[in-house]
Subunit: 370 residues, 2 copies
């Protein structure tokens, strides 16, 4: 796929305010499609860095942007939106903050005319922030929530939709309330829980962390996120987050009581046993609600191939898969400490599994579990 | 690596009681090294299946095992250990249950002579159970905790160590108490928390789960585990699990209070703000305690290469990496919904990063973020 083959919906100049991870990434993506991008940032050195990265050019006083994308931290988002609406009365202003109701309320309470403002939120990001982590492709295939209201003119809405589409995202319309409740559930609460879980490890004996496997790694991975950013997000969305955390705490209390009712010498109340089993079973149902890796609900099957820990071995395997004509949906490499051998777990559609195994074995590969 | 090249420490016959995931996997691994394995299971059909899989042969009355590996569910582990010690007074009996203190207490309270019993626990497993999920390699590179006491004869200890080493594991000596506290922290509590978190998703609107990203997926992945097995594990290790869950609940209560103190209209107490930021910061410290992917503490750097969603493309990339002479430490494939392009994130040692990028670009690959 060459950049020059891409057609765009948006016409520039697009003005981006704030050149952190998201602002720089938006700039890189639009520039990659040949759209004129102007950049602004409160920090001259952050601005210069983003320009050097190729995310756009420094804004000039004569520039008249059609669309402004505010990519600043949540606690100053409302201020910057208000300023941009005043400076550029003809432009449509959107923002990418991960909370939508608070800035909206703040702008309404200040009496700002919001006809040209449409809040939005691309569900994209990385654990590392800043322009140096920016990538043109982080929006690709991700949802981009757009919060319009009845007064939003259709032409203004379509500008923000064009932005999402040009960046490869899928626009989804939601009210600010719907959005904030949704991200509380799938993003903000998991962050709090992962941080609290990882906190248990601080004073763990070395021997205990030596036993850590993939489970505790996965459940705590996002605990490495930025405290300053998350303070802002959690403060701004505290109401729905608290509601979910309260239900979590209540259920946690029930599990603790049930476990305390356990007595290994005697037989515990059958009710306690049931609470524990029901807790794990409810988790089974909950996790099944998440869409599959590709946003679909059908499952892939996997084949695990044993690969020597030598340069090129995995390459040969995947070349063989290509020659066999099997398209991997996902690949996960497991590599044990100090081991001379690793495991490549390949996800494929069920229809080709048997043929893939037969052909791989015929080419000399060892399939785990066979 | 050919199986025939492997030398073994153990001499057979090794008797395996219980042919679920772990028992069948131990059998497959020992058979792969040419060791005579006899199998027993309360279920004749489960036993026949494991024999068909090649995990060993059916036990005969004339067999005199040197080592017995009890691989039955936690709630019957003590019973089976006692039975095996009685039937085979010269054999060393070990078990692989994920809780060590409860069966030990139970055996002591029954007055069983435990001179020939050594509890152990390989930190290995899969989300799917049963013989059909068994793999000879699941122990490879994983820790194998061995709980001896002062009365354990050295020759008996070395038999269990040999088992761990023959299966590619790293033997680690711990007391049953140390073991149970450690797995409570790195396995049992994460399971409860992941299940409780996934439970929040049960009644989520479809639009909310549509926004799910990698964070909520990772934090809830293990919530798909088996309720019946986890009921037994959690009951058997309730004391250390409850202690950790209590500290979690207390900290969760503090976070909820701090978030409730937030009021978007006015300025909240500065203490509340600090609690929230400290919670995320403490998670940063906790997650940093986990050893790196390869059991070491140094970090790898990554390069993200854009790959077309066509059979063979990833193979060509990895072949190129092999030709360049770069050894991947890990590979993670990201593939966006409906996208024609994916991202291969390659982990490598920092020393070769710049050269790898230069050589890959020279071979026509597009590196994300460049």
């Amino acid at each position: 796929m060459k950049d020059s083959e891409l057609s765009t919906r948006l016409r520039g100049p697009v003005r981006i305010v704030g050149t952190g991870l998201l602002g720089t990434s938006v700039g890189l993506a639009l520039r990659g499609r040949g759209i004129d991008v102007t950049l602004a940032d409160a920090s001259p050195s952050a601005l210069a860095l983003a320009v050097d990265y190729g995310a756009g050019r420094k804004h000039r006083d004569t520039d008249v942007p059609a669309l402004i994308v505010v990519c600043v931290p949540p606690d100053v988002t409302a201020d910057i939106i208000e300023r941009e609406l005043q400076h550029f009365p003809r432009a449509v202003v959107t923002d990418v903050a991960s909370v939508k109701l608070q800035p909206f309320h703040e702008l309404v309470s200040r009496g700002v005319d919001l006809t040209h403002y449409i809040g939005s939120h691309p569900l994209a990001g990385r654990e590392r922030g800043g322009a140096t982590s920016a990538r043109a492709d982080i929006f690709y295939g991700r949802p981009w929530v757009i919060c319009r209201d009845e007064e939003t003119p259709a032409w203004a809405l379509s500008l923000v939709e064009d932005l999402a589409l040009d960046l490869g995202s899928t626009p989804i319309e939601m009210t600010p309330q719907e959005h904030d409740r949704s991200v509380a559930l799938v993003s903000h609460v998991p962050q709090v829980i992962a941080s609290l879980l990882a906190t248990r490890l601080i004073d763990a004996p070395d021997t205990a962390v030596m036993l850590a496997g993939q489970g505790v790694r996965d459940t705590t991975r996002i605990a490495s996120s930025d405290p300053a950013l998350w303070l802002q997000i959690l403060r701004a969305n505290s109401e729905p987050v608290v509601a979910i955390l309260r239900s979590f705490k209540e259920d946690l209390g029930t599990v603790i009581e049930a476990l305390e009712a356990e007595d290994v010498e005697s037989d515990p109340a059958p009710g306690a046993r049931r609470v524990i089993a029901d807790t794990i079973a409810a988790g089974n149902i909950g996790v099944s609600r998440l869409p599959g890796k590709h946003g679909q609900n059908h499952r892939f099957e996997s084949i695990t191939v044993m690969v020597d820990d030598k340069p090129g071995t995995l390459g040969h395997l995947l070349t063989d898969l290509g020659e066999i004509g099997v398209n991997m949906e996902d690949l996960r490499l497991e590599h044990s400490p100090g081991a001379q051998i690793g495991f490549a777990e390949i996800s494929i559609v069920p229809e080709v599994k048997q043929r893939a195994i037969t052909d791989l074995v015929a080419r000399g590969w060892r399939i785990a579990g066979l």
